[in-house]
């Protein structure tokens, strides 16, 4: 047992004012920690002494007036504390109405992170690129590209690819150097690769026929 509970938690535990989920943790700790158990016993003893002292107050004390003055003093203290407290402390006083909104925001952020992570790990790059293009079009205020109904043939510095009906046929050669790519309007694309050692040229093509 290397770390002890905070005294405030022990005090609230001793008076029975600690929240349920904290109470269980403190209870387990106090059962095993002699030092903390001793503090709890002291708080309980102080509580009993206070209750005894209150019972022994003089007769004729105006409890209603005393209670009103104490309440007023507490409110003045709280207001003064808010005035001088750093701005970050204001977060502690989130109105109860806003707590569900804050909770919903946190849940939304977590779900969005899971969704983006899942998309990043699982979705084919073509789908990601299509979504990216659509988002860029929306951002720049242009008309959104409609989904291509026919086959799409693409040639770039990375190779050539045919996409149709959710499938894709790509061509690349790891061991050879890509020299040129070309596209034909009749529905094909070609890429020329040269073997670095032999100079043999291999031309790969895809056809949307």
């Amino acid at each position: 047992m290397t770390r002890h509970m905070k005294e405030t938690d022990l005090a609230l535990y001793a008076s029975g004012d600690l929240r349920l989920w904290q109470r269980a943790a403190v209870h387990l700790h106090v059962r095993q920690c002699e030092s903390c158990r001793g503090i709890v016993e002291e708080f309980r003893a102080d509580g009993r002494a206070l209750r005894d002292a209150a019972a022994a107050l003089p007769e004729g004390l105006d409890w209603a007036r005393l209670s009103a003055e104490m309440t007023a003093n507490i409110r003045v203290g709280l207001a003064a504390g808010e005035c001088v407290a750093p701005r970050g402390h204001a977060r502690r006083f989130i109105p109860a109405l806003w707590r569900p909104v804050a909770l919903a925001s946190v849940v939304t952020v977590v779900l969005a992170a899971l969704l983006v992570g899942g998309w990043w790990l699982n979705m084919p790059s073509q789908e990601t690129q299509a979504l990216s293009r659509a988002m860029r079009s929306i951002w720049h205020g242009r008309s959104v590209m409609q989904e291509d109904r026919g086959p799409v043939i693409e040639a770039s510095s990375e190779g050539i690819e045919l996409r149709k009906d959710g499938g894709a046929l790509g061509v690349s050669q790891d061991s050879a150097k890509l020299m040129t790519v070309s596209v034909s309007t009749q529905g094909s694309a070609s890429a020329d690769y040269v073997d670095q050692d032999t100079g043999q040229v291999t031309i790969t093509s895809v056809y949307a026929q």
């Binding site: 699982n122 979705m123 084919p124 073509q126 242009r142 008309s143 959104v144 590209m145 409609q146 989904e147 291509d148 109904r149 026919g150 086959p151 799409v152 043939i153 693409e154 040639a155 770039s156 510095s157 045919l162 996409r163 149709k164 009906d165 959710g166 499938g167 894709a168 046929l169 790509g170 061509v171 690349s172 050669q173 790891d174 061991s175 050879a176 020299m179 040129t180 790519v181 070309s182 596209v183 034909s184 309007t185 009749q186 529905g187 694309a189 040269v194 073997d195 670095q196 050692d197 100079g199 043999q200 040229v201 291999t202 031309i203 790969t204 093509s205 895809v206 056809y207 949307a208 026929q209």
Partner: protein
Amino acid sequence: MRSKFFILAVTGTIAAIAQTPGRKIDFPADSPVTAVSSDWSETRETPRGGAYLLDVHAVLSLRNSSQRRIRGVTLAVLAQEVTPGGKGSVSVPSLDVAPGEAFPLRIDLPLLCPLNAGGPMVEVKLDGVLFDDLTFYGSDKLHSRRTMTVWELEARRDRKYFKTLLETAGADGLQKEILNCLELQRDRPSTGVQMVRGRSTNNDPEHELKFAFLHMPESPVDPTGGSARIAGNEARAPQIDIQNRSDRVVKHFEMGWIVKDQQGREFLAASIPSDVNLAPGKSSQVTQDSSLRFSERTLIGSMTGFVSSAEYSDGSFWIPSRAALNDPKLRTLIAPSPEEQRLLQIYHKKGLGGLIAELKKF
């Protein structure tokens, strides 16, 4: 219990990754090339989201079982179940394979296909073989006779050009020209382009843009006009008016399409092949129902077309001469022929002596 589940999960993953797709090499019985061996061991199939990433890597060893020298081979790679209607091909031009000799052919095909019960199937078929006398064998479903013949004619043209240069200007002159070609190859501009068949794909406003033309000397086909509809970074439905100025019927021609964007950058965007039946002196118009789409930063400013090859009805071809290709505009934009690429790589690897030795083989 947890460890058993983990072992099952790991075993299942390894099994899924190690599974190889169905594959088939299907050559006709009288094929002039035969498959001696094939190595598919590097082929991998990996589940990825709701799809399979099928990475086909194969090396075939083919033997010339005919009595003639082979100049080119085209294999069709069919993945019909993967991409309905989609086909791929692998061609090897600039070959010089004697009867009985073997040669390697690599197939590298990344496929992305939906998950299904049977798994994807890849089939390799022979589309065509071109011999040194320009005769052809094969089903020619991918028009490989035309493309391989043009490559072979370009190879002969370019070898002749470099050999003539060697004879007239010596080794230094040849080296100077090779270095010039390497520089052009390095500096040639390129851009990503998508070709979409069918209707247009965005709603941007469009306008008509007329083609300019580079007139190639001795070309049997003369372009007289043409235009395409432009919408931002997309050019749609090109149409070209042509006239046959030769004395033979032209049945096919191909045009190169150069695009200049609004920043002044020029690049070879695409080729426009067209089947025609054009008698001597007659005119016609060809239209293609397709769109070219460039990157979003490429806003099309102007377009230029030039005839890059033509086929006559008797099966013979016309290609531009080296002199015609030395046009200042074309020289920086047109890709070198496969044979020029091969020769440049030989120079790069073996030096001037290796290149001269290679030129002397033919």
